[in-house]
Structures are given as structure tokens and as C-alpha cells.
């Protein structure tokens, strides 16, 4: 009865079950039949395969078939009559065939025509990755992309509302091999103060004329200029910019890493083909299967990408929320694409708006930017009897007018628009005179302190107060006994602070006061700065009460910790060569944050040891990450924006021992360890006001050339926020020592599956045991060893 009913469902899914059949069984059969709709093979495929089989059979029978079996005749196709051709005729025929193949290949390349063939999802993804830097067959491109991000779907704990969104429009003009113009316009509708104003990157323009790359940041009013060299992979056509797949800006050299990750971490599957921006597209579902990221959890959702069938350019990308798979977290879509378009050469030049700060990295300014007035300034300095300071920075569209010495002795530097004549109003005015006690009285109560770079490795405190409709923005700085007053309607806080931090002294006039003497911490810092190949930065602002410990070099990483009055480490600054650390993993891009100093940083989600997350960035070839157990994202951003490559560290604190654990729950400890280890126990924030404990087990047999990290056992009350496991599609359940344990395994290329972490709840305590990664993507301990540890926890 069941069989008859089930078979009848194949013909009609709406068939009613017979009276005698268990309704639940009938419903299940119906559900299975509906849930697993199996399409019939396409008739074209059936016919093609039949033809292929016929051909194969014929070939087999003609060649290697047993004699007693008659060959499978080939219908309607006469067998060719072979005979030996004269050599000249054969050569001519071969040459003609070769020419034909070359012609077809050339035409295919010129017109970007991809031969029609069945391609697998893996092939499409591989091609799409390649096309991210150089769409197939395209020598020039004009593309408009619309990208929308709903932050509530990716960052549920940041206070975003469901209607918050960030929308970006990207217009790219690319002319191979090395010219481009990318215009980004970002608008945000956000209702939370802790949220970044630009999540997908700031509004701005990126232009390459083939020799220089100009990056204009509209919110920060800066234009960074650098020599064009290696910004893209060799032969790549596509410029740097937010990746349509990852949504973050990604260095070209990471393309290979991303490709490897996509191949290792995702299970690509083809969906029904579609059309995007008038282009036929493959549709690929990318479901993360492995490499589930805890630090960039928002990236763990399912992705669907639409890939141009001819060029393999990603035309559309949708990333679903990992927290609510029905909702979209991020969507990027090409609305217009034109391959091999004629792009006007004028698009590959750029003139920044008036007053824009120009940060030209092609040839760092050696001295003050005095224009034609070097000799005049030296003469004025001699007459005035005090040092004159002139900014090294250039300001777009502004020129320095002839400096003036007025009475009482005061130097006046005026910057005004170029080519507008003497009548043009001043855009920036700097006055300089010997400082007196009266300077303090000119600073209004609402002025705010600003740290700016001073001579050598020092930093100086300046005061800034904004102007009104009638008065200009002001910044006052006393340097080497000289009071410098900056005023401008054009430049704001950041602009004036940067200008004040770029001052150079006119030679020939001795300094009136000596530079501060660096302390012991600065000596150690200076020694490290001389030793490592990247610039070491230190914050010129840290929250009250934090004092630096002596910087330490661990391997290739510099660590500077700041200790709180209670002995805990309140702030950690990790630094290394660019590409050393989180910046080497495209998935660790996190949330993009534009710092007040113009640097683009990345904020990763919170972890027990860093309440506000980890804020990292790359600058001048260096990687820097800041984090702290009590630091909120605004704290981190303020610290990060205050970083100086030249500031001293100041007096260092004597390290105090970490306080003994004082958790509010019974701390559980393993009775078995896979090898001899030392243990340190640290109190960590665990969310919801709860304190957790992290037990770090370090192998006694240390190999400094490899990872010396051992096991990490994190414990928190089961009710604490951080004790909730991040959903992981690769998680499995095991029973170990009578406990229900969630085990996360990963498979890395060339290695058998390995256990990454174990999570379980025991006596009201949520426990996470993490294995240690070693170089080469190997894990230090086997699954069996970790099971032993889990079973021994009491």
C-alpha cells in the first residue's frame, strides 16, 4: 500500500493517501518526495551521451574489440577511406590546420569570447578569483557597482537597528595595463554612536596615471600620493579596492591566499544561471564548510556570487547573515559594465580640492616647504632673533606668499590659492613669535588638547578650538620657545594638527630650548627601532592610569604592554612587518574603520581578552594591532589615531605580577596534560559583567623557531555572553567522559582532519579547550590527546 502510494506520488505529488495507510508515514513519503525534487535529464544531454556511446562503441569495435563480436555500425556516417598522402600535401594541410587554430585562438582572445563548455563550480570560482585582478579578455573596463551593507545583520551587538544601512557606489574606469580611476561614494544611515560612519570604506577617489597612485579621502581631506609599483598582481588589470567577494580592500598579493582559502574552506555549488547587468552569469553558492572564523564571524555566512560567463568578473555578490540566514548582510551588484570601452585619458589625472593635505610618499620632504622663500626666511629669522618653523606638508592648490616680519617681532606665513593674485583671501595663516605666559590666556575654555609630532622622537601638546562663521579654526602650539598660532577657515582639527606636526625649522638659528631627554623606555624603544625593519609606533594618547612596560621583541613581533594600576595589562600594542599577522588573512578584515589620522583600520569582534575587539591596520610597511580587556572601540580608535613613529615611550613602569584568579565560579582544571607544561591563569572579561578565567598551558620544552603556545582552556559562567558558542556548521557532538562535547574539526590541505577546539558545560561552567596551531597549519595535539584532557577536567 505504501509502495503504491509512494510510487503514485512520483506521478502526482498531490495524490491522496489510501485509507489504510498510516497518515504520518504517508505525510513523510509526501514530504520526502517534495523535498527531493529530482529533475529529468535534459534531452540534449541524453542525445549527446547516446551519440558519444555510439562513437565509443564503434571505436572500440574497430580497434580492440574481440573478433567474435560484430562492430557497432556507425549510422549515416561513411567510414573514411585512408590512403597515404604525399609529404608536401600533408605538411600543407598541417600548416593550414595550425594557422586555423592560431586564428581562432587570436579571435577568441581579442573579442573575449570564451568557448562554450561545461564548467564546474570550482573552475568558475577559480576563474572568478583570477578575474578579480584581470577579467578575461578585457583591456579596459567601465563598471559601476552598488553595494549595500545592513550592519545589524553582521554586528548584532553594536547597537545597530534593522533599518541601519551603509550604501556605496563604486565607479571604476580601468585602462590596462596600469591606469585606473575608482570613485567611491558612501552614504550611511546609522543610529548608533559606537558605529563606524563608513563601513565599506570612505568616499574618495583613487587614480593611477601609470606612474603614480593618488588616493583622495574626502572625509579626511587628504591626498596620498605614492609611486605606482606592485599595487596589483603582474599583468592584472583590476585596481585595488573593496573586493566584491570579501567586501574588504585586499592587497593583490593576497589573491593567491584568498583563492586557496576559497578552495579549502568553501564548498562551491552551481545554481541556476541568471542575468546581471545584461550579462549572462553563472550563479555559485559558497557555503562555508571549514575554516570557520571566530574573529570575523560576520564573514561566516553563506555567499552567493554571480559570475560573468564570458569574463568571469563577479557581477553580484550576496553575503547572508551568519546570525539570521534569511537576511542579507551585504550585497554588491554591478549595475553597468562595459568591457574594452574607450576610456578618456583625462580620467586618469586628478586635482584634489583646494586645501587638501598632500601626503606625498614618493619623495618624503627633507625640509620645510618654503617654496621660493628659503633665503628670505633665513634672513627674517636672523632679523627676528628666533627660530622660524615652516610646514613640510604641501597643501593642494595653495601656495606660500612672501613671509613677513611685523612688530613686535612676529613672523607671518600666509597660504593662499595659487594663481588668484594678491587679492585672494588667505586660506591658512601661521604667526610665530617668542612665547610668553600670556599665550595661555588666549586659549579658550572649550579648546581641546591635540598631540602633534615634535622634534626628534618627541610629541607636543597643542590646543585646538573650532571657529564660527565669523572666526577661523585655531590651533596654538608652543615649540622650542616659539608660540605658533594656526588659523584657517579651510582646515579643521585634523588638517591643522597635521600641519603643526610637520613643522621644520629654518636652518641657521639655534634652538632656544633643548629637546626633552628620553627615558629608559625610550632608550629600549630607540634600540628596537634601530633593530627592526619596520617603523615602531607608540600611542601619544592612552587612557588615564596606564603606564607602559618596556617594549619586548618576540620573534619578529614587537609588543608594548601598558599596565593598569591594579597590575593587569590594560593595553597591548603588537607590531610587525606588514603581512605578519591578522593582515595576512583576508577573512580577518573585520569592520573597516577610518581613523582620525586618515589611516584605514580593521576592527575585529570582541573576544574574552579584548572587550572592544582588536583594532589593526597597516601603515608604512608595518602591521599594528591594539587591544585591551576594558577598551571600547572608541577607546581603541582614539589610541590608534594618536600613534606616532617618532614619539618616545616615556618612563616605563615596573611590571607587577598578574593578580591571582578570583573568579566567581569554581575554576576547573585538567588532571591530564599531553606533555609537561607550565600554566598561567588570568582573569578575563566574559561579557554581561561576568569574569572568566583563561588557563594558558605552555610547553616546557620550547622551540623558539616554532609555536611555543600550548593548550588554552577558557572558562566562564555558562550564563555569560562570551560563553555562547559561535555557530559552526562543521561542529559535531561527542560524548567524552559522560559529557556532551561540541568538537570542531578542520581539514587543512595535505593533512588529515584535526581537532581545533572542544566546548562543553560542566558544573555550570562553560569551557572551551583550544588546540595550538603551529607553522604549516598543523595542530600540536591529536584529537585523542585532547579527549584525554577533556575527560580529566575536574
Amino acid at each position: 500500500m505504501l509502495q503504491l502510494y509512494w510510487s503514485s506520488l512520483v506521478a502526482s505529488a498531490e495524490e491522496s493517501p489510501p485509507a489504510g495507510l498510516d497518515p504520518e508515514i504517508a505525510a513523510l513519503a509526501r514530504h520526502l518526495t517534495r523535498a527531493q525534487p529530482i529533475p529529468e535529464p535534459e534531452s540534449a544531454f541524453v542525445a549527446r551521451l547516446q551519440e558519444q556511446l555510439t562513437g565509443q562503441a564503434a571505436a572500440r569495435m574497430n580497434g580492440r574489440a574481440p573478433q567474435h563480436v560484430r562492430p557497432w555500425p556507425i549510422p549515416r556516417v561513411a567510414r573514411p577511406q585512408y590512403r597515404r598522402l604525399p609529404l608536401a600535401v600533408a605538411l600543407a594541410a598541417a600548416l593550414a590546420l595550425a594557422l586555423l587554430i592560431v586564428a581562432v585562438a587570436t579571435l577568441t582572445t581579442i573579442f573575449g569570447i570564451a568557448p562554450a563548455q561545461k564548467v564546474t563550480a570550482q573552475t568558475i570560482v577559480r576563474q572568478a578569483i583570477t578575474a578579480m585582478s584581470s577579467p578575461m579578455g578585457a583591456r579596459s573596463l567601465a563598471v559601476t557597482e552598488e553595494a549595500t551593507l545592513w550592519p545589524a545583520q553582521g554586528y548584532p551587538n553594536f547597537g545597530y537597528t534593522q533599518s541601519d544601512m551603509v550604501h556605496s557606489t563604486l565607479t571604476r574606469y580601468v585602462q590596462g595595463p596600469n591606469r585606473w580611476r575608482v570613485v567611491t561614494t558612501t552614504t550611511a544611515r546609522l543610529h548608533t554612536t559606537s558605529a563606524p560612519l563608513s563601513v565599506l570604506g570612505p568616499s574618495g577617489v583613487s587614480v593611477s596615471d601609470g606612474s603614480s597612485v593618488l588616493e583622495y579621502c574626502r572625509p579626511c581631506q587628504t591626498l596620498q600620493v605614492q609611486r605606482y609599483a606592485g599595487q596589483r598582481a603582474p599583468g592584472a588589470l583590476w585596481p585595488l579596492g573593496p573586493s566584491p567577494i570579501t567586501g574588504v580592500t585586499m592587497p593583490a598579493q593576497n589573491l593567491t591566499a584568498l583563492l586557496r582559502q576559497l578552495q579549502e574552506c568553501y564548498q562551491p555549488r552551481r545554481l541556476a544561471d541568471a542575468t546581471v547587468a545584461g550579462r549572462a552569469a553563472y550563479v555559485i553558492s559558497l557555503a562555508p564548510r571549514r575554516c570557520f572564523s571566530a574573529s570575523a564571524a560576520e564573514e561566516n555566512g553563506r555567499r552567493v556570487i554571480w559570475v560573468d560567463k564570458q569574463t568571469f568578473l563577479v557581477l553580484k555578490s550576496v553575503l547572508y547573515s551568519v546570525y539570521d540566514p534569511a537576511k542579507i548582510f551585504q550585497e554588491a551588484r554591478v549595475t553597468r559594465v562595459q568591457y574594452n570601452a574607450a576610456v578618456p585619458a583625462s580620467l586618469f589625472t586628478y586635482a584634489a580640492p583646494l586645501g587638501t593635505r598632500i601626503l606625498d610618499a614618493r619623495k618624503p620632504p627633507a625640509g620645510p616647504n618654503v617654496g621660493a622663500y628659503g633665503a628670505a626666511l633665513r634672513g627674517l629669522a636672523t632679523r627676528a632673533g628666533f627660530a622660524i618653523f615652516v610646514p613640510r606638508e604641501r597643501l593642494a592648490g595653495l601656495v606660500l606668499r612672501r613671509p613677513q616680519l611685523t612688530a613686535p617681532p612676529e613672523i607671518r606665513l600666509v597660504y593662499a590659492p595659487a594663481g588668484r593674485g594678491a587679492a585672494a583671501p588667505a586660506s591658512v595663516v601661521i604667526t610665530e613669535h617668542p612665547a610668553t605666559r600670556a599665550e595661555a590666556s588666549t586659549i579658550p575654555p572649550h579648546a581641546q588638547p591635540v598631540l602633534v609630532a615634535g622634534p626628534g622622537t618627541t610629541t607636543l601638546t597643542a590646543w585646538y578650538w573650532p571657529g564660527t562663521r565669523q572666526s577661523a579654526n585655531r590651533l596654538l602650539l608652543v615649540r622650542e620657545g616659539i608660540a605658533l598660532a594656526f588659523s584657517s577657515h579651510l582646515l579643521g582639527h585634523d588638517g591643522l594638527a597635521a600641519l603643526a606636526g610637520s613643522l621644520g625649522r629654518i636652518a641657521g638659528v639655534p634652538a632656544t630650548t633643548p629637546s626633552p631627554t628620553p627615558g629608559a623606555g625610550s632608550d629600549a624603544l630607540a634600540a628596537l627601532r634601530a633593530r627592526v625593519p619596520f617603523p615602531i609606533v607608540v600611542p601619544t594618547y592612552v587612557p588615564a592610569g596606564l603606564r607602559p612596560l618596556a617594549p619586548a621583541l618576540q620573534g619578529q613581533i614587537v609588543q608594548i604592554d601598558y599596565q593598569a594600576p591594579d597590575g593587569r595589562i590594560g593595553l597591548s600594542v603588537l607590531e610587525g612587518a606588514a603581512g605578519c599577522c591578522l593582515d595576512a588573512d583576508p577573512r580577518k578584515g573585520g569592520r573597516v574603520v577610518r581613523l582620525r589620522n586618515g589611516v584605514t583600520a580593521h576592527l575585529l569582534a570582541a573576544s574574552p581578552s579584548s572587550a572592544g575587539g582588536i583594532l589593526w591596520w597597516e601603515r608604512h610597511g608595518a602591521y599594528v594591532a591594539v587591544s585591551g580587556p576594558d577598551l571600547t572601540p572608541p577607546n581603541l580608535e582614539r589610541i590608534a589615531a594618536s600613534m606616532s613613529e617618532t614619539a618616545p615611550l616615556g618612563p616605563v613602569a615596573t611590571p607587577r605580577p598578574t593578580p591571582a584568579p578570583a573568579a566567581t565560579f569554581p575554576v576547573l582544571r585538567p588532571r591530564y596534560l599531553p606533555e609537561a607544561m607550565d600554566v598561567s591563569e588570568q582573569i578575563q572579561a566574559a561579557g554581561l559583567g561576568a569574569a572568566g578565567v583563561v588557563l594558558v598551558y605552555t610547553p616546557r620544552a620550547r622551540d623558539w623557531n616554532r609555536s611555543y603556545q600550548g593548550l588554552t582552556l577558557s572558562e566562564a559562567p555558562a550564563t555569560a555572553a562570551n560563553s555562547r558558542p559561535i555557530p559552526d556548521p562543521g561542529a559535531t557532538q561527542e560524548t567524552i567522559g559522560g559529557r556532551r562535547v561540541t568538537v570542531i574539526r578542520r581539514t587543512f590541505a595535505g593533512h588529515p582532519p584535526a581537532c581545533v577546539s572542544f566546548a562543553w558545560t560542566q558544573r555550570g561552567v562553560s569551557l572551551h579547550l583550544d588546540n595550538a596551531f603551529q607553522p604549516g597549519n598543523t595542530l600540536r595535539y591529536t584529537c585523542a590527546q585532547l579527549r584525554g584532557v577533556v575527560a580529566s577536567v575536574r
Binding site: Q3, S7, L28, A35, L53
Partner: protein, 202 residues
């Protein structure tokens, strides 16, 4: 249902005798393989699609199965079941595809069927259904699971029984037990008791 059920039942009469004649003919004259191919290409394709989850992979596997079958036809032993013989080839080819792709689950991709793009909500519902169904199917004993899969792939009772090497009565019992077990597993899933995930690929 009467007429349709009757036709279904009729279609489930044993095809072995017919198959045997066709196989013998194909061994003598390969052109005679065409009827066998036409008869089984649908069921084999549907089985491959069910196991592999997308058209391209199913087409590749179907091609490989029939190519192998054609090549191995001279070694086919008379008196057996052609359906069972072909199913063993299909099973091995699908297994090889898994091994090559390092896949760890069966029926995994069926949720991404190429029937047009679903709305996110529909997709979620479908995914939830599929995930639960997949997990439950994976938890079935291998014989029950194959019996269900062949049913879903549209194989007749006789062909399925022959493919699995059991009598038609035993096959029906397998399917009934499979449904009963699935009902229990899906009910547990609804109640929040996850079924163990097994990584066997047979």
C-alpha cells in the same frame, strides 16, 4: 488513483527477462545497447543527481557510468540482473566522485537545485527542511537509505530490489522501516535532539 496506481504497478513487473534479451543482443551487436541505455539513463541520472546534487555532476557521473557499462558489457554474466549490475557501477562511480571531491555528506547539494533563485525566506525554510532530512537520511542504516534513495530517484520496485539484491517484499519492508525510522529521527530533530552526524560516505 486507481488507474495510475495500476499503471505504476504494471510498470513494476519484473524487467529482468527483457533486460536479459537486450544485454545478450548488445553483447552480439553494440547497436542493441541503445534500448538499454534509453531505459536506464533516466533512473541512473536521477540517482546520480540525488547523490551529487547538481546537474553538471550528475551528467558527468551518468556519462562515466554508461561508458564503463559499455566497456564492461562483454564481461557481464548472463543470468544476473542488469539493473543490479548497472547500479553497482553507478554506486562505485558516485563513490569515486565523492572521494575525488572530498565530500563528506550525501544529498548535501540538493538544496541548491537549479530551479531558479529562491527568496531568502524560502531558501531558509528549504535549507532547514533539507538539513533535517539530510541528517535523518544519513542516520539510516545503509540498506534502508539506499532503498529510499532509489525510490526518490524513481526506480521501480523490481529494479530497486534487483539493484539491492533483495526480494521485492524485502525492499518494501526496507522502505517501510526506513520511513518509520525517519519519522522518529525528524521528530527528535524538531524536539531539539540532534541526530549524530556521521561522516561515512559508504
Amino acid at each position: 488513483m486507481g488507474e495510475k496506481a495500476a499503471s505504476v504497478a504494471e510498470a513494476e513487473s519484473s524487467p529482468s527477462a527483457d533486460d536479459e534479451k537486450l544485454v545478450m543482443a548488445a553483447r552480439r551487436d553494440p547497436q542493441a545497447f541503445t534500448p538499454l541505455y534509453q531505459r536506464y539513463v533516466g533512473p541512473i541520472y536521477r540517482y546520480c543527481y540525488l547523490r551529487l546534487g547538481d546537474r553538471a555532476a550528475a551528467e558527468d557521473a551518468t556519462s562515466e557510468i554508461f561508458t564503463k557499462a559499455l566497456a564492461a558489457l562483454p564481461g557481464y554474466r548472463a543470468g544476473g540482473s542488469f539493473a543490479a549490475w548497472l547500479f553497482r557501477i553507478a554506486h562505485n562511480v558516485v563513490h569515486d566522485v565523492y572521494r575525488r571531491a572530498h565530500s563528506t555528506a550525501t544529498l548535501d547539494a540538493a538544496g541548491d537545485r537549479p530551479d531558479g533563485e529562491p527568496s531568502p525566506l524560502d531558501a531558509l525554510i528549504t535549507q532547514d527542511h533539507m538539513a533535517a532530512t539530510r541528517a535523518a537520511l544519513k542516520a539510516l542504516p545503509a540498506a534502508q537509505r539506499r532503498a529510499v534513495e532509489l525510490q526518490l530517484a524513481g526506480w521501480s520496485v523490481a529494479d530497486s530490489a534487483a539493484a539491492l539484491g533483495v526480494s521485492t517484499g524485502a525492499l518494501k519492508l526496507l522502505r517501510f522501516r526506513a520511513l518509520r525510522r525517519l519519522r522518529t529521527l525528524l521528530a527528535q530533530e524538531r524536539d531539539g535532539i540532534p541526530s549524530e552526524v556521521r561522516y561515512d560516505v559508504e
